[in-house]
């Protein structure tokens, strides 16, 4: 024999009950994750001592402002050019063949050593020496490499 009713008495937990509930949840969580929590606290302690925590906190607090500044700085033409340059350079490095580069670098190092020795010995080069030199297989190989390089570069310029 029930008349329809829309009255619902909700059990509203008191502040104390809510706190006790929250604390209970937390305690059981701590019990389960004790080691991880201890390590985390250690990291936080280090961050705090170094002052990094304060910086991070401030950054998070003003994150939108910070990002706006960052983005507007990055958007300046010099910056975007810089980024583009760095990326092109990185791209170029990526395209080079490691084996060839190794050889070229070894050649450069060897050449520098050799030239230093020649200079130290006070050697001078006349026109005839030049004619002779380009018949020297070593010098000729180096010259071929240089000429090839100049041609390739010219094609792209």
């Amino acid at each position: 024999m029930a008349k329809p009713t829309t009255v619902i008495r909700k059990h509203e937990p008191t502040e104390a009950e809510k706190q006790a509930q929250a604390l209970g949840d937390l305690v059981s969580f701590v019990a389960k994750n004790g080691d991880a929590l201890k390590e985390t606290l250690k990291v936080i302690q280090l961050l705090h001592e170094s002052g990094a925590l304060e910086v991070i906190g401030a950054l998070i607090q003003s994150r939108e402002k910070v990002m706006e500044i960052g983005v507007s700085q990055l958007s300046k033409p010099t910056m975007t050019r810089g980024v583009n340059n760095v990326m092109s350079a990185v791209g170029m490095l990526g395209e080079l063949e490691p084996e060839t580069i190794k050889k070229v670098f070894e050649g450069i190092v060897n050449g520098m050593q050799h030239s230093a020795e020649e200079v130290r010995a006070g050697k001078k080069t006349g026109v005839m020496d030049l004619m002779k030199a380009y018949k020297d297989p070593d010098v000729n190989r180096a010259l071929t490499v240089m000429l090839g390089f100049l041609k390739g570069m010219g094609q792209k310029l």
Binding site: M1, A2, P4, T5, I8, R9, M67, E68, M87
Partner: protein
């Protein structure tokens, strides 16, 4: 496919065997060869707007989506010319679309533009991005359109024009910068858009997006525009090449995936049985994502299934058990609530016996939950007094089919519905009540030349689209159906071979039709004879006739008789046991079919085996280890009568708001007051719950596992997407717990165990198992032990001892006569936007914005006669009660027939305050559709209850589709093809 001939083609130098008639693009994809394609979608077909799938065939460039394979074809996907054409096409797309993927809410791994650009290895675009001179359209509550991101692929248009067939979206190709427009270019919210979501579902990028995704899906997408826009500009300025951008956006998408959960679910609204993924973040629903894998709906959704899920997180959810103390409810623990139920149940059973209990189950609950509730009633309490809400709608249809063809379900699938040469809709409004089925019927009619007849009191959308609209006098469908059948036989158009071979009782049935002459039919139904003859002719000429019916037939005193007449007509014309034909009662709730299938009926165990059959009962007694009642139980109506007689003391009701949904609400509510002990288990604090002694908080579909069975008899599995809210619990867990406290010793670890038990007991489901229902797999009953299911019934035989169907003579039962002072005929039913009485959909702000309240539809003639107009307030009074409603004047209704949508749970406007307790003679389904009222005008001036922004005020803009020829005719369009332009 298996009947087509095979032929061989070369792709990139290799030989492949393919099927005749296949599109080149499909063949390429089948071989796992990369081919870009943006606008080609398996559910939309070839629309040719994007040009990205260009290939070289025998030296000519063509679109691979629009070219069929031919013997010896030499296809190159990677030749210089093909590559160049593909890249140029993609470039043209990127001219319309900015790639800011990392901060785009559509960056979820499935963005077609993102993935295609990446696959093609495009690093830079040669045509710079050009913004369009249009604002983002944010007007609609559920989705937005950003013209600046729109690539004009037209998939949304194709979906709207030719899949949903609402005909709202088009591309205005002729303007300087084309864009998608709604109707004749009005804001989305003011258009004829029915919020079905098709356009958003198929958009290959972020031009059309669910608002629920914006700022929610991405890690960094909720940034203010002040920060976001410079960041996008920066990325563009830096121009790292797209592979660099994509690397970062993919990293971001991977991060998202850890918190966006994607779960397959089955829609919980109507009986169509749409399946899709629901994307959630925490307890929040991000969006519904349909997939071509879904067996029923594919990419299709309706406003409720796509956008109507707010109820899950509604503040009105019940989250704790409630116990009545005097005239108020107090929150309680589960222990307290269940213990109280156990002690009261024991007390009442000891004192008054098992039949003092009644159980009402729910078509919103899963098959497994329905199985458990009937098991609880039968094996633990010991009564067959159990019923479900199919009693309010579909029992007469089931009865009509049982009598004639043997199975109480749709004869075939949604493909048969769409494939029928002629569809006849009788007393149903699928465009509003079964929207996704309606899309298939509309498409078949618009594109495939299928014919459509609609018989209804109201000129609803399907009637407007039909080839022939019959408008019978209320309650006379039986007469015209019988007259048409008689005329067909008289003309010799009946299927003699089929009748001889597969059907009993023809001569007797033919005799029973004698009185149904065209003359008599015209007089009784008001349908002109020519239309009846036309109907007969159309059935005779059609390659397969399918008849769809729903509450317009089944909520009458002669509902079972009319349903039988439908089946008879189909038998006489040989329209059973063949594809694209048959009887299709459209089940109203997601699991009306399943609730009945799994035995929450007073006379049936699961799988429609009679409780009075000794052999069957013994099977269940053995399995459940108890003795069971051999007496048929009480149905809903019988239970209410028993309460009034003081014989029924206790009731357990799961997921049903019978106080508003049963007819004659005043009577039902005063009856519920008389129960000694009443338990209601529901998601919400419904009107019915207000009468309860104990209320148990249940979890809706997204918070549990289980299966639903749709109107096609298709069993589909859903997975748990969310944790139950608060202390609510899945119904199957509550029932298991209660049964165990009553000594049941049930040990179901999951719904899979429940299904396994049911499958082992009911031959109809012998082969049903969760493994076979994995993912988007489904089974249509009967399912044999080896897992073979039955998409099409009666192919070999009908389920009767001699395998033959039974023509069953029936007589027309005229509608109830009511006193003359009630001069208006009251019709009632659903509204597209709301589900049923609205307990779920009225929690959605967006839906309430589009359709805030119910109303009464009045014909222009009646409005003039009574001096009312849009917004007038009227009082409708029947013999049983009264309501107050505001008026909508519309020619959807005629003369003195009025219509009230049932979406109200208010004492002021709920339509069932007006309906009677008359019911179908055989099944006791209330005759909701036989009501009469008188009308009193309270205020003439008032606001239209249907707001201007409701889709019904929009002006549709029908097109053949995306109409790509108009794009090709533009001066600035340069073709990439080298052949075949003349044919287009």
């Amino acid at each position: 496919m298996s009947t087509t001939t095979r032929l061989s083609v070369r792709i990139n130098g290799n030989e492949y065997q393919v099927h005749e008639g296949q599109n080149v693009v499909d063949v390429i994809k089948e071989q796992n060869i990369d081919i870009p394609h943006i606008c080609y979608h398996p559910n939309l077909g070839t629309i040719q707007t994007c040009d990205t799938c260009m290939v070289e065939i025998n030296g000519e460039l063509v679109r691979s989506c629009a070219t069929k394979v031919a013997p010896g074809m030499n296809i190159e996907t990677e030749s210089l010319a093909a590559k160049a054409a593909q890249v140029e096409a993609m470039d043209r797309i990127l001219e319309n679309h900015q790639l800011y993927c990392t901060v785009c809410d559509n960056n979820n791994g499935n963005c077609r533009i993102h993935n295609t650009v990446e696959m093609m290895g495009i690093e830079h675009q040669s045509r710079p991005y050009q913004p369009k001179p249009y604002e983002v359209d944010m007007s609609h509550p559920f989705y937005r359109y950003d013209p600046d991101q729109c690539i004009l692929c037209g998939q949304c248009v194709e979906a709207c024009q030719n899949v949903q067939v609402n005909e709202t979206l088009s591309i205005d190709w002729e303007r300087d910068r084309p864009r998608v427009i709604w109707d004749n270019d009005v804001p989305i919210n003011e258009s004829s858009c029915v919020s079905c979501g098709h356009c958003v579902n198929v958009c290959p990028c972020n031009a059309l997006m669910e608002k629920s995704m914006l700022g929610e899906a991405g890690i960094m997408t909720d940034m203010k525009p002040a920060l976001l826009n410079p960041m996008i500009d920066l990325v563009k300025e830096v121009e790292p090449g797209y592979s660099g951008i994509f690397a970062i956006s993919e990293l971001e998408a991977t991060l998202r995936a850890t918190r966006t959960k994607k779960t397959k679910t089955v829609c919980t609204f109507c009986g169509v049985g749409c399946t899709f993924e629901v994307w959630t973040k925490g307890h929040k629903v991000l969006k519904i994502e349909p997939t071509p894998d879904a067996p029923v709906n594919g990419i299709s959704t309706c406003v409720k299934g796509k956008f109507g899920w707010d109820f899950v997180n509604s503040e009105d959810r019940l989250t704790k058990p409630l116990i009545r103390k005097g005239d108020e409810f107090h929150e309680a623990t589960w222990d307290e609530a269940l213990n109280l139920i156990v002690s009261k149940f024991k007390e009442i059973k000891d004192r008054d016996g098992a039949d003092a209990f009644g159980f009402i189950s729910s078509s919103k609950c899963t098959n497994e939950e329905n199985y458990l509730l009937q098991k609880l009633a039968r094996s633990i309490i010991g009564t067959n007094n159990i019923d479900n809400c199919s009693r309010y709608c579909q029992s007469p249809a089931t009865t009509g089919l049982f009598r004639t063809v043997g199975y109480g379900g749709d004869a075939g699938t949604i493909y048969d519905m769409a494939g029928a040469g002629l569809g006849i809709i009788v007393g149903a409004n699928p465009a509003e009540a079964h929207p996704v089925i309606a899309t298939r019927l509309k498409r078949a009619h618009k594109l495939n030349g299928r014919k459509l007849i609609v018989a209804d009191l109201r000129k609803n959308e399907m009637a407007e689209r039909s080839d022939l609209f019959l408008r019978p006098a209320p309650g006379t469908d039986h007469v015209w159906l019988s007259a048409v059948t008689k005329y067909i036989i008289d003309q010799g158009w009946h299927d003699v071979a089929f009748l001889n071979k597969r059907v009993n009782g023809f001569e007797e049935y033919k005799k029973s039709l004698e009185k149904y002459t065209l003359d008599y039919a015209e007089k009784t139904t008001r349908i002109p004879q020519e239309q009846l003859i036309e109907t007969a002719k159309m059935i005779h000429e059609a390659d397969g006739t399918a008849i769809f019916w729903a509450m317009g037939v089944t909520q009458h005193c002669g509902a079972s008789e009319t349903s039988t007449a439908i089946a008879n007509l189909l038998l006489v014309t040989g329209n059973f046991g063949r594809p694209n034909a048959g009887a299709f009662p459209l089940r109203g709730h997601n699991n009306v079919q399943g609730a009945c299938d799994f035995g929450t009926l007073p006379n049936f165990y699961p799988g429609y085996e009679l409780v009075t059959d000794d052999a069957v009962r013994k099977r269940y007694e053995k399995a459940w280890g108890v003795s069971l009642s051999p007496e048929k139980g009480l149905d809903n109506e019988g239970m209410l009568n028993a309460i009034n007689k003081g014989e029924m003391k206790a009731m357990f009701l799961m997921g049903e708001d019978m106080a508003w949904v049963d007819a004659n609400s005043n009577h039902v509510q005063s009856t519920l007051e008389k129960l000694e002990f009443f338990v209601v288990q529901d998601v919400f604090f419904t009107k019915t719950a207000q009468f309860a002694d104990v209320i148990l908080p249940a979890s809706p579909s997204l918070e549990k596992e289980g299966t639903f069975t749709n109107t096609e008899r298709r069993i589909q599995r859903m997975y748990q997407a969310l944790e139950p809210l608060g202390e609510s619990r899945p119904d199957w867990q509550i029932l298991t717990e209660l049964a165990n406290r009553l000594g049941g010793n049930w040990s179901y670890a999951s719904p899979a165990d429940i299904m396994a038990e049911s499958a082992s007991l009911a031959p109809l489901f012998a082969g049903v198992s969760y493994e076979r229902l994995e993912g988007f797999n489904s089974l249509l009953w009967p399912v044999q032990a080896d897992g073979t299911d039955t998409p099409l019934l009666y192919k070999e035989s009908f389920p009767f001892p001699d395998g033959k169907a039974r023509l069953t003579p029936t007589d027309w039962i005229p509608p109830v006569q009511m006193p003359e002072e009630y001069d208006l005929f009251l019709n009632n039913g659903r509204l597209l936007e709301h589900f049923h009485e609205g307990n779920m959909t009225n929690k959605s702000q967006g839906i309430m914005h589009k359709a805030p309240d119910t109303f009464v539809e009045i014909s222009p003639e009646l409005a003039q006669e009574r001096g009312v107009k849009d917004g007038s307030l009227v009082r409708l009074q029947s013999e049983y009660g009264a309501v107050k409603l505001r008026v909508v004047v519309t020619d959807r209704v005629q003369g003195k027939e009025i219509y009230v949508p049932m979406n109200s749970t208010s004492e002021i406007s709920a339509v069932n305050l007006l309906t009677s307790s008359h019911s179908d003679v055989t099944t006791h389904t209330p005759a909701y559709k036989e009501a009469k009222v008188k009308m009193q005008v309270l205020e003439v001036e008032g606001e239209n209850p249907l707001p201007r922004i409701n889709s019904r005020f929009g002006k549709r803009n029908p097109q053949r589709g995306v109409e790509v020829e108009r794009k090709w005719q533009r001066k600035d369009y340069l073709t990439l093809e080298t052949v075949g332009q003349g044919e287009k």
